[in-house]
Amino acid sequence: MLIVPAIGFGLATAAYVALAAVGFTLQAGVSNIFNFAYGDIMITAAFVAYAVNAAGGTLWELLIVGAVTGAVVSLAMNRLIFRRFVRHGVNRFGMLIVTLWSGILLQNLLLAVFGPKFFTLQVSSGRLFTFFGTRGILLTSVQLISIGIAMAAVLIVAAGLRFTRVGMAMRALATNPDLAQTSGVPARRILDYTWIVSGIFCGLGGVVLALATGAFEQTTGEDFLVIIFAATVLGGVGRPVGAAVASLVLGVAMEVSALYIPPNLKELAAFALLVVVLIVRPGGLFSLAKEGAEVAVV
């Protein structure tokens, strides 16, 4: 049977989906802005990692560089572009246009710097581990590391939101930004933290995605965004554990469906799940913020 190895691939896929989706769902849940530039920030981190890799960086160095790049670009985009437009009174849909165009600007910047071709990170995928016998699940050490990072990311964000003061402030901002600010939540600083944390996972996700897909180009992140959206909406906006569970479902669904449909169509499984769920429940499955929560103006 090929199902068992396919589930193994699904786990590896779920790892990078979850890593990226946790950052996305945190930021989308707290600030109520869907950041369409997220995939482009991911791929920017992958490109910076590529430059470091060309200079001889190892796997761990690439991951750290990716995380830092993600955090810096994410914070910069919020400070320089997104926050200003929100303060300027641009509505929710306007913000989607702003984030989309920001993403395309970033893509074209990368295109201008690196040129139109495919890139590969030269990292050995390490030892091969087998689970449940030789016909069972096969995972490389790089894949195991990604799964570990993804699980750690989910736990950190979930516990942070639940137990720390900053996490509580984030939840307060998500639910009612005005009330949170009048109650003394330093909204601007908390939102900066949110963009930084989300950027770290975004950057890590970008590097892991680049490792997993083999060859990447400027638009790889934008294409991947569709799966992040699916994981976020299915798991509930602003819910890291939900995003992780949804990523697992999506990852396994995509890899198992690849046994039955052309493999380059496996993302259709994620898409079908998303559209069906949204038709049945137009408000999404669960959400941290209540229906119609406002974008925090800080």
Binding site: F85, V98, L268, P282
Partner: protein, 348 residues
Amino acid sequence: MSAVDFYATTLLVYFGVDVLAAWGLNLQYGLYGMYNFAFILFQSAGAYTAAVLTLGAPTHQFGAQQYFAGAALPFPLPIVIAGLVAGVLGLVIALIVGRGMRSDYEAIVTFVIAVMALLTVNAIIPLFDGQAGLSLVPQPLAGTLRLSAGAYAWVYVAFAALVCLASYVVMHRLMASPLGRAIRAVRENPSGAAALGVNASWCRVVVSVLGAGLAGVSGALLVEFIGTWSPGSWSYAETLVIFSAIIVGGVGNSIGVLIGVFVTQIVFAEGSRFLPTSLPPNLVGSLQWMIIGVMTLAFLWFRPQGIVPERRYCVPAGRDGSSGERGAAARKTGPVPSSSLVRGRGDS
């Protein structure tokens, strides 16, 4: 055909096509407020339909382009059917995003649909020849008219202009009609409009189908002229360019949208002329996208209403505009009382 003829006619046909598509999106977004990032699919559906219905049955020879079905219908039919097919797709999208989906989910779902449709057409080659796309679509009536290539191109420009004019008349009448007012009311205040008996679902279906139909016709017009259509022509970013044209020109204003298309097209067609020639070619392409992006952001910041803002539809409320006795009396006898919204529903 001289180079000038070729350049001018190609540019003009593209202009007409983009204006039609932008008007279609303006119906959906400007008039009703639908957040449709899958809009380019309608143009694409129209283009593929027209191409397949003009090319004739596929030959199945080795190396020939593959496509699904195929026929060689006489001239206006492929364009008309393209509009209808796109309209049906518009109905499907309206039904999917209907039922009170959260506005940003609406944008996300349509975005996902656009990406997935591209993926599907790329992956399933027997559909529309995958990445390579369809080409060698014969120009309509080229055999019967027996014109020189240059004269034919100008005749086609005139035909495209005629289609634009006809679409403008139809669209304008819709926007000025009671139904158009009802649609605008749903955009401004959905619950208020619902309370007055406006059927929002019906409004959404009308704008979605009509907007999609316009886009379908635009795609058909383009493919019948340039003879080729491939996935490279309809990435999600193309929808974003149409949105930019609307935002720059003026959301909800047909003439403004036309100006917006003109401005964005100037950047794409002529923008490269003002860049230093020493730049590498891929940088020029990138810069054109970046100029459009920066321009859109600048308009959102400095002039969100666009170059030509939407007309204000005001109801005269007495001479002094107060809500006093006279104001109320004037409202009762005024020319366009607010109850005309209810007539909008009766009309539909």
